[in-house]
Structure formats: structure tokens, C-alpha cells
Symmetry: C2
Subunit: 469 residues, 2 copies
């Protein structure tokens, strides 16, 4: 309900209701909050950016948006790759950047309570001081926030053994689409009191609520890892090695694929002395304790060799092993230096990894597009990276066509259109194809139920049932 | 919409639409489908019991119920302990007992696809033949079904290390409250395409949909376990040992508490030669591979001794260790031989376990009620078992009062009213107290969205927003 006696502009009302300095309206500044890192995803310009410091302030923001019928787009660090945090024209962008408190780290209960703006790496560092470990480790961990990780159900390198963000979220405090501040979930190890609204919020990309606090499960610090590296003549050979590791019954703590394009781009940027002789490098790790870890590493080595590795070795040098994983994490920003990078995020059954990588190669050739590959290969979660020369519109059109084809091939192989980056804007068509009309309608029903006024990140993931999407 | 041209009775219409033998209406027979194992939970009598064999037949049942406005109560083996499967008068009970196919066990993708009526133990046995392991292991594993386990998000003994049913459900096929047959979730290791309707259905106790197929994640077969047993003079001492294990950074593969009452009841029934000298027995296990497992077992032993165990030992006899865990699993049916048993299912923070066990003792004394204790102690998931002499109404009233007080104390200690048995009927008041009005309203909003005609297991968990609950 619009308050006709009050100020008409949401920014004015936010300024009136919140402490000084919370609201930004200078277009030079607000423009930098207008989009995430998804290449080519459309975005509008926010009417205001607000940086609340407390849950109550977040509630005020939601209520002002409700009052004015203005869309609210929540963002963390803006490292998303699907456009999920992109502004729509005239919206309020809520940035969680000022909510950075680590409220509790509890070694006995093995949990932490944090505000949404806490950077992933900062939480991991703080946990380590207590002998604890927060596993989810997206490659963006140095910049991305726990709130953003929860909103997208972020994955990472260790997911192949330890699962994704949702597996670590015990409870949430959030503001609903009707402006209520609520707590869901728990602090106990188990609990089945009511529907699992916690899991429902995780991965909902700001469309069902605005997260103000996260309670995460922690693990004890783990053993140092053993690293195995293998060079392969083709992505398909590397894919066969991945399938062999799964068949051997090993659960590696990481199993990452990086191709020559990525290694070359990282080396050109960071001068790490990386070998670019191999077409593809596979990096396997085991953190099983004691002799079990040795055995797993040896088994992976044998799998790499059996799949035709041109070179394979157990790394004895911890520094060298770290450099290889650092190269993996830097692959995306390194490639971005060459031109716009459109990031794919498909996930296919493990058995389909070689076939899918082969199809990506074929698509690259067919559309004359440079496609580099990084992959959480052990999960079947592939990130083909489509690189175009800056300013080349025709190359962009070709890459766009390749992007669509990769999604279709992933679905044809029984995969999903997004393994960990989220639907955002870039995967909305893919989502429709994947879910089909009945499940899409169920998703919309849930959206309508939790955000009845349709102010929370409209147009992302699914639209309301009232709108065409 | 009622089909005025057709038969007026749902049983007649079900008989007309389904193959012969699917529908039971003999009250002698249908009465045995009227309730689960929750003592004192109210139940009505079904108008018909139907045992469909396919997902399409399930859809037919849902559509007939929609057409006639008749409530539909789904049940697996009926081993539930909260009344979640209890019939309401005139309802249709859908039993999944005839849907017992294990459709797929896939070692490479580490998943299985099963019909809902598959018994937990049967799935575990089938997986073991492929070197695989389905972890969730409720004490009812020999009887309870995967469908029921999913509907209640069942826990079990190994949850302390391996998580609960929800952690293993990758995807579901189910019939919605509007009679659509849909698939949610995936077969891939990761995926964030749309809201997590899979987790929403898990633990929803048949109130949001009727599950027709479950895709579960599997693990590789694990190492043989090391077992540590400790005798304690009080539940509080045992509780301190549990806290010490958590503080020592050990993640046991089981950490179970059984008191003297349970051991005596099992021994009187099964003549297993169990010692009943100890007031309380703690059973710890480690399945960490190789020397790590030895170290964990030794650490647990030291924790037991440090907390004042009167006797503690690492079991070297696998048969003896199995007998102790068998006694744990048989505790509930053994006590039932003595009289009606009202089963609690609270879960408290680990640090609160000694305090909570002490309060249970005090409540037992205050209400002159025999309360035996079994507990997934490492999770803080306690099952006080309130035992009353058959036919003693006043004892029953005292036990009922104790039951309510235990729930209140669990909430006061930051716990939950149900760790793994579900809300059903017995925990509806507790649920209200735990969630509070705003979150309860959110739960109802979700219920209304997915079951708009309010035919799915009405009165369980939360009522629709249209009804008082």
C-alpha cells in the first residue's frame, strides 16, 4: 500500500528511514552496482543502491520497496556469472557489502553464524584458526560472499567429495517478500520441524527472500592433500580418465580439468612458468588420511595412465601443486583479459563427460568460436569458456549460437543447464527446456507464494505465474 | 470437479479405473492400514485402501480423490512414530507396498532409482552387491520403506557422520496435489536449475505430493568399523562423554546411547546375554580407513574414560559389537512388549546433551513415569521412551504431561521438537511453539501452493491457511 502522505521516491523514503550514508543515488556510483560478471546479460539502472548494516535495516528496505511497488535486487560481491544480480531499471539494489560480521564460530557444535556480506575466504580463514573448515570453495572464494554463495548454491573444487553450499546451510534468517523477518532451519545436527524452507531459499537467487544471516555447518580441519597431475592429448582422453577414477571407486577431494588455452592465458598474465605442452591437464587430489590417501593418489595416477596420459605424476612438491590449483582458479579472469568470456556451466552424468567434451569441441569448430575448458571434471560440471575478440559482433553472434547448442547437448545427455552458477538471466530458456511446463509451473507457484507482490529480483530464474516467461 | 455422471463413491471409481485387486474396502483389512506406530495419536477409518503398482495408477488415485474431494493419506510400511500416516475418517489410504522395484543401481554415477515401497534394508543389500552403500539407516531399516524414509527425512545411526535421508535424495518423481505426474531434481552430481523442490518434498510427510520414484545418491562401500563401548553410572556422565568426543574433533560413524531399561527389555526378549550392570551404555564407532580409524577409536575410548566411564573397552570381537548395535535397534520393539511406549524425538545442541538428559530424568521423577533412553547421542538426537502399564489411564496422563514437558525443555535448550521422526500429529503443538507464527504461516503458504485442494494428508504437519491449526 502506497503511503500517499510520505515521499514518493523510494530513495527519499529510504534516506528518511535509514541512518545516514546507507543510500547511494549518484548514477556514477550506482552504475557500478548494475550488473554482475555475466557477459552479455542485459541489465538496467537502479534508482538507488542501499547498503544496510542490520537485519532490521534490510526489513526496512523490503518494506519501502513493497510500499512503492519497486523491484528489489539483492547482490553480494557481484561475482555471479548468470546475471542473477543484474539490476532492472528503476529498482533498488540492496548490497550486503556492509554486513560482514562473523557472529559466531562454535567448535563444539561445528557451526558458524555469519552475516551475508562475509567473504568466503574470510570465513574459511577464521574457521581455520579454530581447527575447523568450511568446505564450499568456489573459484571466486577470495571475492564472493557467503550470502551470494547461498543465493546461488555455489559449488567449487572440493564439491566432488564434500558437496555444495546447500549441504552446509543449517539455518537462515531472511526477510520475506511480505517484509517479515524470519528464522528458518536450526542449530542442531538434525531436525525435521516443518518444510525445508532453508533448502528452498538456498539457490533461489534473491527471488524468494533477502538473506540477513546464515548458520553454516563446519567440518574439522582435514589432512594435507596428495596431488596427481596428468597431461592428455585431448579433452576426450582426459574425460576417459575422469570416468576411470569414478569406476575405480575413488572419491577424490578435487578432480579438475584445465585446457591449454587456460594455462597459456594464466601464464601470460602471472608468469607462473606453467607448461603449455599438454592439450589438457587433469589435477586430482586425495585428502584421505594416512595410507588411504597414498592409495587413492596411486589409483588416480594409474587411471590417468590407463586413459592415455602423455605424462602423469604424483606431485611431491606442495608449492608446485598449489601453483597448478592457483592456475585453475585464475583461469576465468585470465581469459577475460583476452576479450569477453561467456561462461558455460553445464553438468552431465559422469559417464557422459568424454562425450560432452567431444561435443563441445565439435560445436567450437562448427561455430568458429574459441572455446577454452575448465571443469570440475569429477562432478561432470563443465565450464566451457567462449571467448570472442573485443568488439567483434559477428564473433559474438557465433558464440551465442554455440552457447545455446552446448546447453541443448547437455540436456540431450541427461545433464542440467546449470551445475552451480544459477539460472539468473542467461539460463532462463535452458531452464524452461530442462524443467518442462508442469515443473516450471510448480516453481512459479512457489515464487508466487513467497513473493506475492513480485518485488524480489523480478525476471530472474522464473517469472511469476502472472507474467509470460 | 465432481463427475456427476460417474459413481459417487471413490472406492467404486477406483475399482472402475484401476486393474482388479488394487482396491481394498473390507473394514477388517482396511483397519490395519488406519495408523502407524505412534502411540496415542488419533486416527480415523479409511473408506478404501489402494495399492497401486505404477506411477500412472498413483496419478489416477490422486485424481479420483481430487474429483471426489476425498482426503488421501499415503503410507509406506507404517513404521512411523508421529502419526504422520494415520487415516482420517473416510479417506483413501494409498499404500506403496506393491511398488517395490529397484529400477537401477549405477556404480559409475553412484546412484540408485527405486520405487517408494522398496524396503530400506533391501536397497542396502542390493547396493552392497555392487560395492556400494546407501547410508541412511533408521532403526526400522528392516521394515521401513524408502518412500516413507523420504517422506519423513528419516535419520538413523550413521547420520552423525553421513547425514540424513535428504542428503541422499537426488531426484523424485511425484504426483502433485493437482494430479500432475512430475520429475524434480536430477541424476547429475550437481545442479541448480530452479528451486529445490526435491528437498521441499523430503520430510513433507505426504502433505505436498505422493512420491512415485526416488533417485538416491550412493557411496562406495566403507571400511569395517572399530567399536568402543563404555558403561556409565548416569546418563549425565554419558552425555559428558558425548560432548568430549565432539570436542576432540572426532566424527564417529555412530555414537549411540542405550540405558539399562532398554538393555534389560531386549535381553528379556532375545536372551542375548547383555550386561545390565551399567546404568547407561555408550557405543562409539569409527569407519575411518586404516590407522586413522584406530586413532579415532582410541580417542573415543579416552573420552569415555575421561568422562567417568565405570568400564570402557575397544571391542575386538565383531560379533559382540554387532550384538550391541542389534540391541540398540531392537530397543523400541522390546520396550513395546512391556506396555504402550510414547517415543520422543528431540534434538538439542551437542553441548546441551548432558543437561537435557538430566532434565529428562527430573521430568520422569516429577511425573512418576518410567522413561527409558536411547539416543543418537553424537547428533544430540534423543529418544526418551515413555512407558506406561497397559490400561493405566492415570499413568498415561502423567506420561502425556511428561512428553509435553520434554518438548518444552528441548526448545528451551535451543533444540528442535523433532530430529528425525517428523511432525505428524504428535508434534503439531511443538511445531507451533518452535516455528512461531510467521514461519508457520510460510509453511502454510507452501502447503496451499502445492496442495491447493487440501486433499494430501490433511491435518498433518501444518494445516492449510484456511483452517485453524
Amino acid at each position: 500500500m502506497r503511503n500517499d502522505a510520505g515521499p514518493r521516491e523510494p530513495a527519499d523514503e529510504l534516506n528518511r528511514l535509514l541512518p545516514a550514508g546507507r543510500v547511494l543515488t549518484d548514477p556514477q556510483v550506482t552504475g557500478s552496482y548494475a550488473h554482475d560478471e555475466a557477459e552479455w546479460a542485459p541489465h538496467g539502472l537502479p534508482a538507488a543502491v542501499v547498503r544496510p548494516r542490520t537485519a532490521e535495516e534490510v526489513r526496512t528496505v523490503v518494506r519501502v520497496c513493497l510500499d512503492h511497488g519497486v523491484p528489489l535486487v539483492t547482490r553480494g560481491a557481484g561475482t555471479g556469472l548468470s546475471g542473477g544480480a543484474n539490476a532492472v531499471d528503476g529498482c533498488v539494489v540492496l548490497s550486503t557489502e556492509a554486513m560482514t560480521a562473523i557472529t559466531e564460530i562454535n567448535p563444539l557444535e561445528r557451526l558458524a553464524v555469519v552475516e551475508p556480506g562475509v567473504v568466503n575466504e574470510d570465513l574459511r580463514t577464521a574457521c581455520a584458526e579454530h581447527g575447523l573448515w568450511y568446505p564450499p570453495d568456489p573459484a571466486s572464494a577470495r571475492w564472493s560472499t557467503i550470502g551470494g554463495n547461498v543465493a546461488t548454491n555455489a559449488g567449487g573444487l572440493c564439491c566432488v567429495k564434500y558437496g555444495v553450499t546447500r549441504d552446509y546451510v543449517l539455518g537462515l534468517q531472511f526477510v520475506t517478500g511480505t517484509g517479515e523477518l524470519v528464522r528458518v532451519g536450526r542449530r542442531t545436527a538434525k531436525g525435521v520441524a516443518g518444510y525445508d524452507l532453508t533448502s528452498l531459499l538456498v539457490g533461489s537467487e534473491g527471488t524468494l527472500g533477502v538473506i540477513t544471516e546464515v548458520t553454516v555447518r563446519l567440518r574439522p580441519r582435514r589432512e594435507p592433500e596428495h596431488t596427481v597431475a596428468g597431461h592428455f592429448a585431448s579433452v576426450v582422453d582426459a574425460g576417459r580418465a575422469v570416468a576411470a577414477v569414478a569406476e575405480a571407486g575413488v572419491t577424490p577431494s578435487a578432480l579438475e580439468l584445465i585446457d591449454r588455452h587456460c594455462l597459456a592465458a594464466v601464464d601470460a598474465w602471472k608468469h607462473m612458468g606453467l607448461s603449455t605442452e599438454a592439450e589438457v591437464v587433469l589435477l586430482g587430489r586425495s585428502d584421505a588420511p594416512g595410507p588411504a590417501g597414498e592409495l587413492e593418489a596411486d589409483t588416480m595416477l594409474a587411471c590417468f595412465e590407463g586413459a592415455g596420459a602423455t605424462y602423469a605424476v604424483r606431485s611431491t612438491d606442495q608449492h608446485e601443486a598449489e601453483a597448478l590449483f592457483e592456475a585453475r582458479r585464475l583461469a576465468y579472469p585470465a581469459l577475460e583479459r583476452l576479450g569477453p568470456v561467456l561462461t558455460e556451466d553445464i553438468c552431465v552424468p559422469k559417464a557422459a563427460v568424454p562425450e560432452m567434451l567431444g561435443r563441445v569441441d565439435a560445436i567450437a569448430a562448427r561455430h568458429d568460436t574459441l572455446i577454452a575448458n575448465i571443469a570440475h571434471a569429477g562432478d561432470g560440471n563443465l565450464h566451457p569458456l567462449l571467448i570472442t575478440p573485443p568488439g567483434d559482433e559477428r564473433a559474438r553472434d557465433r558464440a551465442q549460437a554455440a552457447f545455446v547448442e552446448i546447453i541443448a547437448e547437455a540436456l540431450a545427455l541427461g545433464g542440467t543447464v546449470t551445475g552451480e552458477h544459477g539460472v539468473g538471466l542467461l539460463k532462463r530458456d535452458g531452464l524452461r527446456d530442462e524443467l518442462g511446463p508442469a515443473v516450471l509451473a510448480l516453481n512459479r507457484t512457489v515464487k508466487d507464494a513467497l513473493d506475492p507482490m513480485h518485488i524480489l529480483n523480478p525476471g530472474k530464474v522464473v517469472s511469476s505465474s502472472r507474467k509470460d516467461s
